[in-house]
Amino acid sequence: MMARRPTPRASAPGGRVTADRRRIAAGALIGIATAGVLTAVLLPFRPDLSVATCGLVLVVPVALAAAVGGIVAGLVGVVAGFAAYDVAFIPPYGTLVVGAAQNWVVLAVFVAVLLVVTRVVDRLQVARAETARHEESTRRLFELSDVLIADKPLGELLGLVVATVRLAFGFRGVCVLLPTERGLAVGASAGEPFDEGELSAARPHAGSPASLELRTGTSASVLTVPLTAATGPVGALLAKGERLRPAERALLRTYANQAALALERARLREQALRSELLEQADRWKDALLSAVSHDLRTPLATVKAAVSELRAGEVHLGDAGADELLALIETQSDRLARLVTNLLDLTRLSAGALELHREVVSVDELVADALVSLAGTEVAERVDLLVEDGLAAVEADPVLIRQVLVNLLENAGLHAEGGGRIEVSARRAGATVEVRVTDDGPGVAEGEREQVFLLFKRAGNAGRAGIGLAIVKAFVEAHGERVWLEEGTAAGACFGFSLAAHDDPPGAAPGDATVVG
């Protein structure tokens, strides 16, 4: 029978000494009890048994005691076995006196055997425990590294490192110090927080050059392990709690190295991500600039040409011609104004400050409103409105949706073949009302449909992209609805978007403001 030695980690941190004591006491008790029981069992047969046989039987309690409690318990077992043997089985019985010289020899051999057994059993136990501890270390290191392998953001990774270290080594508190602009600062911590005094132990001292080249050391109660990776130190790990065994300390150092590598990797990844984001923002800015410059320059070209013509006195335009040029200047100035509005909206969108004011409105009203904005332009005269009979009202921000319609109509006007009709239709579809703007222009090639809403330069022959459609998409999506470019339309392009239908009887008052982040 072998008692399983409890692993140190199974007990609460700091309970290692108590556990050892308990184990020794248990071994000693088992030794004494077994010696007592065996003596009681053998006593009736004493006359029939030789002195040596009884001695052999009494080796058992010693072996048990040593197996359970180690050498100390084994020695207690030796004393118990010796006493029981001498008193109960070596004549004269009942005393510690040893009678015959032959019995002296038996007793001496008995004690020698007991001592050897104790020693051997204890050795075995120690070796087994050592192996178990080794296995445990390997397992723990494996588990810890497992945590580090996963590709996680820096913050999450730091949290994991401190939590696993605290659990695995039974520390009261663990934290990671990271270099910042103002020196070392706590990046993450688990368990008991560290006070300033404990932290300052790890920080470089005032007046000495700041460096992260810390040495593994123990000051008072805090253990400091440097986290060093390939590119140099990345931080320091601070822990407080029970003093570690040398093997555990080595394990912690190994783990710290792995953690350092993982932290470095996470940091590099974050850097890469940041530079990628910057690059993207740069590209976005380029695209925006190019779109803005194209969209602004187009109406400006007409205004400039018309104005320069009006000012050149030598040409005979006639009243009609001059009037037409003036009208052009007016419509193009309005177009410029709408573009500037779009730009401002775009800025508000990217600043995340767009507020949605939902109201219950009819599609007719929205379209009429949009046509007012386009009054005087060629587009306004070409719109046909087709609204289903008894169509429900919609819940939408009228200002934003007007802008959506204006942009879609303007886009249709730009691309429809000279003077073609533009159709605006609305019909019920489930819980939404779908609005479509169809032109009879050349349409958009299949492969370019997805890019139409992007804020990109008019690439090659795409020609539809620009600020206007980007705004359409952003505004419709701010309502939680969708916008699309219909596929398979025979003639021209058909842009559609959905709006929430409003079915409740009048009286319910929505109009609540929602902030869109």
Binding site: H294, A301, T302, A305, G321, L328, H415
Partner: protein, 224 residues
């Protein structure tokens, strides 16, 4: 009075140009798409084409190439400022001149005038004596005069002047000039050109202004 074809997708600009150019006595037709523009050139044979580079269906340069495939009609390109590469591509592709948006009508008209003046008369064999304003270039005798004053030019300077005179009124890109005058392999050596243009201008004296520099694009020899 000339027949002008305006290829631009923007209805407003189309209309403004039409009013202004008509008032100046020209006959204006319009096209909103590149393909339509090419067809119009073939059908109506205009005297000059005003072509926007940012058309929705075809890149302007492609329109230019398609026109050049069958017609020598002068093409004046409209383009956005800062889009130097598009201009150079269009000029290399056969355009004669460019105007940057936004532009004044007087400027556009002046460019159209230059383009119209240097329109190659159909049927004539290549002339051996070129006249560009007060400047004459005798290709056979390798002699150039400015007014009555003979110009003393080195071989390369003469070649450069002769090339520009042959394409008078047209903006010639650096690449065009270098590969024609210096030969293939010199296309990237724009600084040669700067040096020679400078010398040429000095030797032309008061007529030096006829040699116009288009920064980042090329040179143009005009009659004015």
């Amino acid at each position: 009075m000339a027949r002008i074809l305006v290829v631009d997708d923007d209805a407003a600009l189309q209309k403004a140009l039409s009013i202004a150019l008509t008032a100046r006595g020209h006959e204006v037709t319009g096209a909103r798409r590149g393909e339509q523009g090419v067809v119009e050139v073939a059908l109506r044979q205009p005297d000059v084409v005003v072509l926007d580079l940012g058309l929705p269906d075809l890149p302007g340069i492609e329109v230019c190439r398609r026109i050049r495939a069958f017609s020598e009609v002068p093409v004046v390109v409209l383009s956005a400022a800062g889009d130097e590469r598009a201009k150079v591509e269009a000029l290399d592709g056969g355009a004669d001149d460019y105007v940057t948006k936004p532009f004044g009508m007087a400027e556009l008209e002046a460019r159209l005038r230059v383009a119209l003046r240097h329109r190659r008369p159909a049927g004539d064999g290549p002339s051996t004596v070129l006249a560009v304003g007060p400047l004459t270039v005798d290709l056979v005798h390798h002699e150039a005069t400015c007014g009555d004053r003979p110009l003393e030019l080195t071989g390369r300077e003469f070649d450069l002047l002769a090339f520009l005179a042959r394409h008078a009124g047209k903006v010639c890109t650096h690449q065009m000039i270098l590969s024609e005058v210096w030969g293939p392999g010199y296309q990237e050596e724009a600084h040669y050109l700067r040096v020679y243009a400078h010398r040429l201008r000095r030797k032309l004296g008061p007529a030096g202004g006829q040699l116009r520099t288009h920064p980042g694009i090329g040179y143009q020899l005009t009659g004015e």
